[in-house]
């Protein structure tokens, strides 16, 4: 008796009410990850240590200049010498002008004066290249800079 009754039952359907939850979850996940996407950094950077540092105020008004030795995987191609990276590619000091101009272009008229350049520079870099970058920035009238650093590890 029992067995025949069971056969008559139609196939169980899954409730789809949770589907929306999953979709929303995925949506949020992708939202979070896509806003995070920073440029892929191809240089090894270990920031110097400092204590007198403050939080970066307006991230949208900041452009980054990365300086360091190329990553181990890229060293066969680019060597071990200190290189500068703007956006996604290795660049020379002369490219800074275009880089800053492009960033200025993206900003609204009112924000342009507040453009800041953040220096993400490896602690073992020599000052020569840092000074070259600073001189170039002075020529571009991008005078507000930030030396990125980390709190010393205890």
């Amino acid at each position: 008796m029992k067995l025949t009754r069971k056969k008559k039952r139609n196939a169980g359907t899954y409730s789809s009410s949770s589907m929306s939850d999953i979709v929303f979850m995925l949506l949020f996940f992708f939202m979070v990850t896509t806003t995070m996407r920073e440029e892929e950094i191809n240089v090894k950077i270990k920031l110097p240590e400092a204590t007198e540092i403050a939080k970066l105020e307006r991230k949208d008004l900041t452009c980054y200049i990365n300086v360091g030795a190329p990553l181990d995987a890229l060293q066969s191609k680019y060597g071990t010498d200190t290189r500068m990276q703007l956006n996604d590619k290795f660049s020379s000091v002369d490219d800074i002008r275009d880089f800053v101009a492009a960033k200025r272009e993206q900003l609204s008229e009112a924000d342009r004066a507040q453009l800041a350049v953040a220096f993400k520079i490896d602690r073992d870099t020599r000052m020569g290249i840092v000074t070259d970058v600073k001189q170039e920035l002075r020529r571009c009238q991008a005078l507000s800079i930030i030396y990125l650093a980390d709190y010393p590890q205890k």
Binding site: T13, M25, F29, V130, T131, L148
Partner: protein
């Protein structure tokens, strides 16, 4: 009896799981905070005729860092850890020594007439100096200024510099203005 309702999965916990995952990702993907030391570069002087104003020698604290990361303060070898106190005594000049900077009385809002040091910290590096050392020196100089400003805020406004209002902070900054001049680096120790 024959028409039994279809078995349903209990979906009430699904939302919990979803939120759990969501919060997990939200918490783990926080961007690394960017912390840094803000600075303003001096504008480039176009015409060479306009020479920078002459500064009396006693008003300059010369800090050199050579290509081997050795520190020299007024041509004497120095330790980074002792630099902060040297900068502080240079700016304060408590005994009005003849070889330490002059002071001039300035009228500052909220504070009134007060003597402000004319001292300028000059930092010169070599092309071979490491960035680590440069930042360490910069940090010590900043520390000296931060302590001076804190001390002054406490005696005048009975509060730390960071807790003052914006106008008060501006006034304190007026008393201890950040005068760091960075000379063009030399290229003595030629290094690749």
């Amino acid at each position: 009896m024959a028409k039994r309702s279809t078995p349903e999965l209990n979906a009430s916990s699904m939302a919990d799981i979803a939120f759990l995952l969501l919060t997990f990702f939200l918490l783990t993907t926080t961007m690394d905070q960017n912390l840094g030391m803000p600075r303003r570069l001096p504008p480039l002087i176009e015409d060479e005729q306009e020479k920078p104003p002459e500064i009396n020698k006693r008003n300059i604290l010369q800090i050199h860092v050579n290509s081997l990361d050795n520190l020299l303060v007024n041509s004497k070898p120095w330790e980074v850890t002792l630099l902060k106190d040297e900068v502080k005594s240079f700016i304060l000049n408590p005994n009005n020594d003849a070889d330490k900077p002059e002071k001039e009385v300035k009228n500052i809002e909220l504070i009134g007439g007060i003597s402000v040091s004319k001292g300028v910290v000059s930092l010169q590096t070599d092309r071979g100096t490491s960035y680590k050392m440069y930042m360490a020196v910069q940090n010590e100089i900043m520390k000296a200024y931060a302590e001076l400003r804190d001390d002054f805020s406490r005696s005048r406004f009975q509060s730390d510099y960071a807790k003052l209002t914006e106008d008060q902070q501006k006034a304190v900054r007026g008393v201890y203005p950040l005068n760091i001049s960075e000379a063009e680096p030399r290229d003595k120790g030629k290094k690749k």
